[in-house]
Each structure stands twice: as structure tokens, then as C-alpha cells.
């Protein structure tokens, strides 16, 4: 065991965990006042549920010994994380439990990312059922395809996933498993749930852009754990990934702002924040295989392309409310395919892409990995979402949607700015004792 590596992986896991509350702010600021709490609750719901499922069987499905074909790990091998508590259980140079922690937060944020596609209109209970099943049949297996290396997590002779080992596509931190996966699922779910009432007609302005920018800042901060932490060590690979993550993100924000300035006449704060996320997404698979100048090119292209891609939903008429497709699917594809073009053998991954004389060998591997995840996620999500909609019901009533999902589903409202509400207070079943001698009520 290496204590330096372990410290970095544990710290990175905490950084990545912060990304999901950051995402809640990023998404929450973009919806209207009547649905901000529901938007944030979908992220917090994923935090609560997926952390439990991950410990119970998720880690084992993703990182247990392969059951065949590189498709899924053995769910019984590490059921309840059994056999992993001892310090002698190492993954690379860190305790298995540190690796469990780091990978857990990836599963959480991937599920939370999807929620941006279904803002304002998804029943919370149905979302939670979807989140649990989706993680089980889509994320955990796909994480096995992409992140489980032969002999690394399930014993020396164990086999890992087909994309990581047989195909040998490079996805350092999850361009396919996280972003293409969540983006394709978001597209499928937006199609299943249908457009919001008034989509394309009513103004659905972001209600709080300062929240969006705080969220983007927290995402960027946490993403250093996501990408540099994926080195699973405190080493030179982590340092290269860190610098590439910083510079691609800056370039992407510039790319988005320039696109907006030319097209719409203004450089907007939402554009700056969105460009940051687009750049982070694009550099995620590529941060170990590009040099910093290549990262600038990748980020800049990703920022410009994503800024154009967010308009597609109006052209094709699907209500991907907060642009999970335009940012995560498109950004994930740019990054994953970009490895095949911009990779250089100088970088830690040691592979040359098309522009560095490596031919199309890596590019086709990247394309196969990207489209396999895209297709699997889209099809399974579409079927799962349709089944849930037909059985337990996924979308809220039209009346509740118009009056606001926060009040209808959570019995709360996010803001009381006017302080004009009057009414009576009744301590609910949660109140343990009510004391009249103190000021107010003790619960």
C-alpha cells in the first residue's frame, strides 16, 4: 500500500462527491422558481440511493470477476463489500475500500446528470425507482465495460470489461461510462416523458444564474478529483490530467463565449458556465492521452460544438430541458473521439492519434466504445422509462406541472421572499415535544 496514493484517492473521492451537490446548484439555478427544489432533490435522491446500492451490490457488478464477454461483473463476489475490509486487499497501490469510495461517487453523479433532461415534470418516486434500476442495469455493467481492468480489482487472474481490455479504447475518467451514458439516457427519458407544457412557446428562463455559476465552480473544483484522481495515485499521470483538465476547460469556456458573441451578439454568464462544463466533459476521457496544447484544441472545439448543439432540441422538438444531450452527450463524443485524433505518445497513455501519425487504429476503437455505450444506454433507458410510465406513472399531472412540482410533489416552496404568507402552524408527527415555555417548538 502506498500512503500518498491512498491519501490522494480518498481526497479525490470527496472532491467528486461534492460535484453532485454542485450539479444540483448548476441545474437548480437553470429551472424556474416553482421547480428548483425538485431539480435539486433528483441529485440528492441519487446521492442517497446510489451510495447504498453501490455498497450492497453495485461495486461487485462493476468490479467483480467477469461473468463472460466482458459484459458484467460477478454480483456475489463483493456482495455488501464482503472480503474487502482488510488493508491487504489492494487495487493497484491503494486499499480496495479507497477504490470503492472513489468509484461510488462516479455512479452517483452519472445518475444525477440524467435529471437535467426531465426538469419540472418527473414524479419523484418514479425518478427514484428509475435511478435504482438504471444504475443496476445500465451504469454498473457499463462501468465494468470501461473501468474494470484485467487482474486489477477481482484477483490476479480475474477478467475485466470488454471496452477497457479487449477493445482497448482509452476512456481515462468516464467520457463513455459517465457522459455519453448519461447523455444518451437523458435523450431517451426526455422522449419518453415528452415536452413540458409550453415548451418552445413560454419563456422558461433560468431563475438564478448566480446559483448556476456557483454550481459550475463546484463542478470544476470537484472535477480535479474526477480526472486527476482517476490516476489512482499521487503521481505524474495525475499531474498531467490536472493541467489538461484546467486548460481544456478554460478553452471550452472561451469557445462557447465566442460562438455566442458571433451568433447572438452577447457573451453570457450561462454561456461561460456551460462552456466550463462542456470542456470538463470533453477532457474527461482524454486527460491522460493528450498534451496540454492538444487539450486546448479539444476544449475549444467542444465549447463551440456544444454551444451549437444545445439548439438542436428546438429544431427536432425534444425537451432535453437543461441540455444533457447538448453538453454531456455531444461533449462526451467530442472527447472520446478526440482521443483518436489528438492523442500523442508523449502523454502518459503513450498512444498516437490520427493527427500524430498513429493512423486510425485508436480512432476506430474510440468510435466503437462510444457508440456501443450510446446505443446500449439509449435503448435500455427508453424501454425502462416506457415501462415505468405505463405502470407506476412517470410524469406528473398537467395541473401540478403548471402550478409547480415543488409544491405538488414535495409540499415545499424554495423561496419566501415576500414574507407575506399567513396561516396556522401545526407540529407534525415529527415533533417529539412541544414546549410553551421556550420560544417556539422543539423537534
Amino acid at each position: 500500500m502506498d500512503t500518498g496514493d491512498t491519501a490522494w484517492v480518498l481526497a479525490s473521492a470527496a472532491l467528486v462527491l461534492l460535484m453532485t451537490p454542485g450539479l444540483a446548484l448548476f441545474y437548480g439555478g437553470m429551472v424556474r422558481t416553482k421547480s428548483v427544489l425538485n431539480m435539486m432533490m433528483m441529485s440528492f435522491g441519487a446521492l442517497a440511493l446510489i451510495s447504498v446500492l453501490w455498497v450492497l451490490y453495485g461495486y461487485s457488478v462493476a468490479f467483480g470477476d467477469d461473468l463472460g464477454g466482458g459484459l458484467v461483473g460477478d454480483p456475489t463476489q463483493f456482495l455488501g463489500l464482503s472480503g474487502l475490509l482488510g488493508e491487504s486487499n489492494l487495487v493497484f497501490t491503494v486499499p480496495a475500500m479507497a477504490f470503492v469510495a472513489f468509484q461510488a461517487v462516479f455512479a452517483i453523479i452519472t445518475v444525477a446528470l440524467i435529471s437535467g433532461a426531465v426538469a419540472d415534470r418527473a414524479r419523484f418516486g418514479a425518478w427514484m425507482v428509475f435511478a435504482g434500476i438504471w444504475a443496476t442495469i445500465v451504469y454498473f455493467p457499463v462501468a465494468h465495460w470501461v473501468f474494470a481492468f484485467d487482474g486489477a480489482t477481482a484477483g490476479e487472474d480475474s477478467l475485466g470489461g470488454w471496452i477497457a481490455n479487449r477493445l482497448a479504447a482509452i476512456d481515462f475518467a468516464g467520457g463513455t461510462a459517465v457522459h455519453i451514458n448519461a447523455g444518451a439516457a437523458g435523450l431517451a427519458l426526455a422522449l419518453v416523458l415528452g415536452k413540458r407544457i409550453g415548451f418552445g412557446k413560454d419563456p422558461m428562463r433560468p431563475h438564478n444564474l448566480t446559483l448556476v455559476m456557483i454550481g459550475a465552480g463546484l463542478l470544476w473544483f470537484g472535477w480535479f478529483g474526477f480526472n486527476a484522481g482517476s490516476a489512482i495515485g499521487a503521481n505524474g499521470i495525475a499531474a498531467v490530467a490536472w493541467v489538461n483538465t484546467m486548460v481544456a476547460t478554460g478553452a471550452a469556456s472561451l469557445g462557447w463565449l465566442l460562438t455566442e458573441k458571433v451568433r447572438d451578439g452577447h457573451a453570457t454568464s450561462l454561456g461561460a458556465a456551460s462552456g466550463v462544463v462542456a470542456g470538463l466533459v470533453a477532457i474527461t476521457p482524454a486527460c491522460s492521452s493528450l498534451n496540454p496544447v492538444g487539450s486546448i484544441v479539444l476544449g475549444f472545439v467542444a465549447g463551440g460544438l456544444c454551444a451549437m448543439a444545445v439548439g438542436l432540441k428546438f429544431r427536432f422538438g425534444y425537451d432535453d430541458s437543461l441540455d444533457v444531450v447538448g453538453v454531456h452527450l455531444v461533449g462526451g463524443l467530442v472527447g472520446t473521439l478526440g482521443v483518436g485524433l489528438l492523442a500523442t505518445a508523449d502523454a502518459p497513455a503513450g498512444v498516437d492519434g490520427l493527427f500524430f501519425g498513429g493512423g486510425v487504429d485508436q480512432l476506430w476503437r474510440q468510435a466503437v466504445g462510444a457508440f456501443a455505450v450510446l446505443a446500449y444506454s439509449f435503448v435500455v433507458t427508453f424501454v425502462l422509462g416506457t415501462i415505468l410510465q405505463r405502470t407506476i406513472g412517470f410524469r406528473i399531472d398537467a395541473e401540478d406541472e403548471v402550478s409547480g412540482i415543488d409544491l405538488a410533489v414535495h409540499a415545499e416552496s424554495a423561496y419566501d421572499l415576500a414574507s407575506s404568507s399567513t396561516g396556522t402552524f401545526r407540529p407534525g408527527a415529527g415533533a417529539v415535544s412541544v414546549s410553551t415555555s421556550d420560544e417556539g417548538v422543539r423537534a
Partner: protein, 112 residues
Amino acid sequence: MKLITAVIKPHKLDEVKAALEAFGVQGMTVSEASGYGRQRGHTEVYRGAEYTVDLVPKVRVEVLVDDGDCSDVVEVVVKAAQTGRIGDGKVWTMPVDDVVRVRTGEHGIDAL
């Protein structure tokens, strides 16, 4: 008596208030308002999608005056609120039957 209602640009409120005080007006009611005239709101852009915001923030100033002062006070308000650009607002007057000062019960001109 007349009720003068002025809907003006919010940043002109201080100047209008000072001008009215200089004229000798004793009190006024100010409220936040929103609306539009010929300017038809403004446009905002989010991720490339344009939203037309119809209702623009305005301030409504209401002043009660004696009939003889009415046209002068309107002039004072217009002069103070004018920028010459679109969206400066409107001022209008209406006849008022009676006014009562709640504290004393005085009626009419005495209550102004």
C-alpha cells in the same frame, strides 16, 4: 382635487421626488410596477434561445393635488422624469371626489 399618477423609469424616482418636494408637494405614494408601452419589453438570450420579456420594471408615483396646482405638478414630474429615450413612461390625471385624513377626520383640501 386631482390624482396624478406617473409611471416612470425606476432610476428617475429620486429626481421626481426631489422636484415634487421642491414644488411643495407634501406627500406621495410610490409603488413598484411592471408594464410596457411602445417599447414592448426587451429580449434576453439563454443558451442561444431568445426570450422576449414583455413587462419591464417601472415605478408608479401617485400624488393628490388641488385642482389649481395640477397642470404645474404634471409639468414638474414630466420634466424630472424625462430622458428623451423610449420607455420614459406616462403621466395622467383623474378627478377625485373627496379625501379624508385618517388621523383627524379632515376632508377635502384640508386633508392634502
